[in-house]
Symmetry: C2
Subunit: 341 residues, 2 copies
Amino acid sequence: MKLKLNYSLLCLMIFTCMAVHGQKKYVMVIHGGAGTILKKNMTAEKEAAYIADLTKALQKGYEAIKAGKTSMDAVEAAIHVMEDSPLFNAGKGSVFTHDGKNEMDAAVMDGKTLSAGSVAGVTVIRNPISAARAVMEKSEHVMMVGAGAEAFAKQSKLEIVDPSYFYTKERWDGLQKAIREDSVKAVLDHGSKKTMKLGTINKDYKFGTVGAVALDKSGNLAAGTSTGGMTNKRYGRVGDAPIIGAGTYANNATAGISCTGWGEFYIRNVVAHDISAMMEYKKMSVADASKAALDKVGKMGGDGGLIAMDKQGHVAMPFNTEGMYRGTVTADGKIEVLIYK
Amino acid sequence: MKLKLNYSLLCLMIFTCMAVHGQKKYVMVIHGGAGTILKKNMTAEKEAAYIADLTKALQKGYEAIKAGKTSMDAVEAAIHVMEDSPLFNAGKGSVFTHDGKNEMDAAVMDGKTLSAGSVAGVTVIRNPISAARAVMEKSEHVMMVGAGAEAFAKQSKLEIVDPSYFYTKERWDGLQKAIREDSVKAVLDHGSKKTMKLGTINKDYKFGTVGAVALDKSGNLAAGTSTGGMTNKRYGRVGDAPIIGAGTYANNATAGISCTGWGEFYIRNVVAHDISAMMEYKKMSVADASKAALDKVGKMGGDGGLIAMDKQGHVAMPFNTEGMYRGTVTADGKIEVLIYK
């Protein structure tokens, strides 16, 4: 009798704790990029379109989890939706390089095996996230770049498209604006050492990436990130998304993480692995470690956001920009989508 | 009088401790690759040539430090020697890709500012380490790949060479051998899922990289790594060397690190940053953290080695292969070069 009472009391305490702290068990968290996203600049139609596609991505991921598929399947399914949507800077809708091309990067990591795969600078693969997964599963390598990565994707029977598939008018116009602003900047910088520095006028040109972290029924975490990179980028620049440890990381011992933001700061801070390391070595929660890692980026002058989920299904979605497209789905299928602060 | 005695006693204790533990203050540590390096397979001439070039690299680095230059200057100077030597798999003497090309990767990181630069898949830059430094110092980016990175190097006035500059007969013969062995492997694997997996017969094809970590008079650490990658590599494979956090990392708060070995395992374990994280978050010594990180690689089935140095000038040079070309120089100019276990 005493045992039963204690058990009931324990259940009540746990329930109270969960209610107080709002702890739910999540099975997936996604992002669609961080940046200067303000409600005042958003039309109702555009907002509805973003919410619809984020919701669809979460639904696809949830369906995979519910069907007993792996967290990697769920991550890939959710990211396919965002890559196929022209709204996000990944796959269709990727931003343009200085030369008017779409060069995409993506990475995945499996938290159970610490296997990982990534591609950078690919131009003809419809879904770069699937190419990253193929690198992980069908090769001994972790990272492949450029034409070599594309040859591997073809050999892996992934869908190859004409580069024109990735074109959207909005991104093309964005490139023209960036080129104009960079010309102004080049004149301003004339003669200074900074002449070669790029894209500093509008920092939002660096943003926009999609990512997902999922937790499957076997308790395994997976993370993935896919991006078109930075508008007007030159010189084969690669950001943090395809860098394991920087923009993408997953480890069942700690968390799955996907970052979005000013990539260079995320690489220099090895953000995704740093969150995992703080959880493992300092016993920090996923929320505290995520906040601490993002604070380091902020102190250095960088901005952006990230999503993270631990093995218990706790999520963190911090960002230090005006907004971040993001969403979660719980184990019982409840979807929540957020855009602004 | 009492004070003086205590002071003398303290000095004696410190001296004894240093003598017992062999603690010296180092200003530079370098490596020239790890692998199946056995004395029985080495000719006296070849051994002497390796020792001479490693010594020269340490001398160049030491001269820079002694002259009051930065640790980054020292790292670049030491790596230039190894890149220009045909003995090491970096710069001149790089291994060949499956297509008979030399595609090189390099990275540098500054421990004071956490600035970093890297290039991957470059084919015409005489000293890839200088291209990585140019990316760090002359662009807002951290990583550039392929033709874009080369265009940037040209713009930065770095020395451009014809791809034939990198040719050495020994590496070319190595490629022919690897192709033959891979053909055998392809037949053995025929019909299995592993048919697409690459280069598994001779794991030494994955090894050979050069790297340096230096500590300057201002107490700042810098690290750099340069490599020709993996013999017979295909599909634009990128290893750990140019990945900040994996093969290269430096942070004045912890250590400078450069890795060499089976790159994929170093990427998946985010080895260089993991050493830094264990030092920062678990208060481990550079030696213990380096050993722990390499043990993780080993447990996963990978092998190789690494060099690390903390801000106090303590060094670690662990490896789990038969040998690793390596060397150190102390603050008073004493050079030590080692090859075998």
